[in-house]
């Protein structure tokens, strides 16, 4: 197991290098020049020289790339152009609120979609199956922005069930503020997951071992919960990995509309202000998360399915 992990980690290096290269090319060579924004209304030529020197914009590109690689390794992305705050600290501050929103939403979505997936696969072909699938498709077809606008206006303002916006750091109140965003996130993503898991489970239901389990006298729920579920864990895990990057970035709409100072809203500001260090940091963070997420899933596969050997 251990050498497998080491080998896999070594394999991630070319991917990380590839990601860094693409991000660098896209953002550095091409992005806008932040000097004017940083100097405000009254810039003059001399100040611009000083600034370019200070931030190293005047260095040749490949040195900047090496610096960027160093940043990835040391995880110190320097300072944001707009707020002059050290980015590492900003990320640490942003992770808390982001995960307060993302983790419960992610767990609830997965829990619900697996349960509904099982329920629908049990009733496959019947009216409930068709109606649940169509309902899921309904849920998927609306853009997230529409959900947010309507949700905030009706649920938060008109009915007053939830706070309209804002965030609280202390523990109990914190969840009040993320309640509505979680509700919106879940109702948007449950649809997609249910359909995905339904196909995965239906794939398993037709297998012979299910018939054997029934022949043993097991009740339907037990057959589904124990036998079918464990077998469909592999496709379920694959889907979860794809959603990991969404954990942080996927909620940038929710964060900016509900005033949650998470990584998503930091990224949005960075995009609006062409604040490249933050965009680079966030994209790199996302990419690393995705790569290690993949690694974790490969290992989890062996736990879930003994046939999978760590070759």
């Amino acid at each position: 197991m251990f050498e497998y992990i080491v080998r896999k980690l070594l394999q991630t290096i070319p991917t990380i290098f590839g990601v860094a290269l693409i991000i660098f090319i896209l953002f550095n060579l091409v992005g806008g020049d932040p000097t004017y924004q940083m100097l405000g209304k009254h810039a003059n030529q001399k100040q611009i020289q000083e600034l370019r020197h200070e931030y190293g914009f005047d260095q040749p590109k490949y040195i900047q790339f090496v610096q960027y690689l160093k940043q990835i390794v040391t995880f110190d992305f320097g300072r944001s152009y707009a707020t002059k705050q050290p980015i590492g600290k900003m990320i640490l501050r942003g992770i808390g609120p982001s995960l307060t929103l993302a983790i419960p939403a992610f767990l609830l979505t997965t829990f619900l979609s697996v349960i509904i997936g099982l329920f629908v696969s049990y009733f496959r072909g019947t009216f409930t199956d068709k109606s649940v699938v169509v309902a899921c498709v309904f849920g998927m077809s609306l853009p997230m922005l529409a959900y947010i606008l309507f949700g905030q206006y009706f649920l938060a303002y008109k009915l007053g069930w939830f706070p309209i916006s804002g965030f609280e750091v202390t523990f109990p109140e914190r969840f009040e503020y993320v309640m509505l965003p979680i509700l919106i996130w879940v109702s948007v993503s449950v649809g997609y997951d249910v359909r995905f898991y339904r196909t995965a489970i239906l794939e398993e239901v037709g297998q012979d071992y299910v018939r054997t389990a029934r022949a043993k006298g097991l009740s339907e729920p037990r057959v589904f919960m124990k036998h079918v579920l464990k077998n469909s864990m592999v496709p379920i895990l694959t889907n979860l990995v794809i959603e990991i990057p969404m954990l942080i970035l996927g909620s940038f709409l929710l964060e900016s509309f509900f005033g949650i100072p998470g990584l998503g809203s930091i990224t949005i500001d960075a995009i609006h202000n062409s604040d490249f260090p933050i965009i680079k940091a966030m994209t790199t963070l996302q990419a690393l998360l995705f790569i290690f997420g993949n690694l974790a899933t490969d290992i989890l596969y062996t736990v879930v399915d003994p046939r999978v050997r760590l070759k």
Binding site: I23, V137, Y153, T199, F252, H272, I279
Partner: protein, 305 residues
Amino acid sequence: MTSNTGATTIETLSEQAALIAPKGRSLWKDAYCRLKKDRLAIICFFIIIFYALVALLTKIGVFASSWEDAVGPAYQPPSFDSIQLLFGTDIFGRSVFYKVIHGTRIAMSVGLVSSVISIPIGVLLGSMSGYFGRWVDDIVVWFYTTLSSIPNIMLLIAITFVLGKGITSIYIALGATAWVGLARVIRGEFMKHKERDYVVAAEGIGASNVSRIFKHILPNVSHFIIINLSIQFMAAIKAEVILSFLGLGVQGQPSWGVMIDDAKLELARGVWWQLAGATVAMFFVVLAFNILGDSLRDALDPKIK
């Protein structure tokens, strides 16, 4: 037990077999028959055709070409007294109904062109890496793993930074990032099919690599392309909304994303029709693609008979 002479039995056998067994149907004809029975899929198919028609006609300029002219006072609520005012008016008094129709054209063109870009790339790279394997496979896999580990939104933003704002850069941005899913599927299928007997047999009779890929294997995996097309189309339409929210969307002409982005300022003051118009229009076509994609997958997937 009388047994007639060997020779005759064979002929009668094949004749009878021909009579009784259902005519051999290709995957596509079989899928077509199955789809014909699925009423829901038919409805969705016609919805998509209707949207495509509207998009085409607006392109030619048959309707909604005058979306820019003011038809009434600003923010007039929907009323039935004229077709233009069906969905009310926006901040400049322009007809929201015309803007929705114009948005259809944008959405369908975004979906179509980005698919036209991404599908050939996906098929080409997928088939090459699946078929040839070894270093070709490693490069392609490295490329698309790298590309897919960068969050999609950031990639779209970066590319639109590079190409400047506007619809062409959306086409290219979506096209350049959407081929990954198809490439992965096609690669998997090619790896499976290249060892299949019919391919080895084709090699036996001297078929070259290229013909094996395109003449033999590709037709057997082409149903994945259709399934992916429906997903890709839908994803493109939704991506356009996010891009417009970030200000990187279509410039100078109305699209659903732009209308929804406008709505974020208007809903608070009770102007709901622009948001409702765009969302409803988008909802039906995305719904249609979803359902059609599903029934296509069920109809075309040989396993689920």
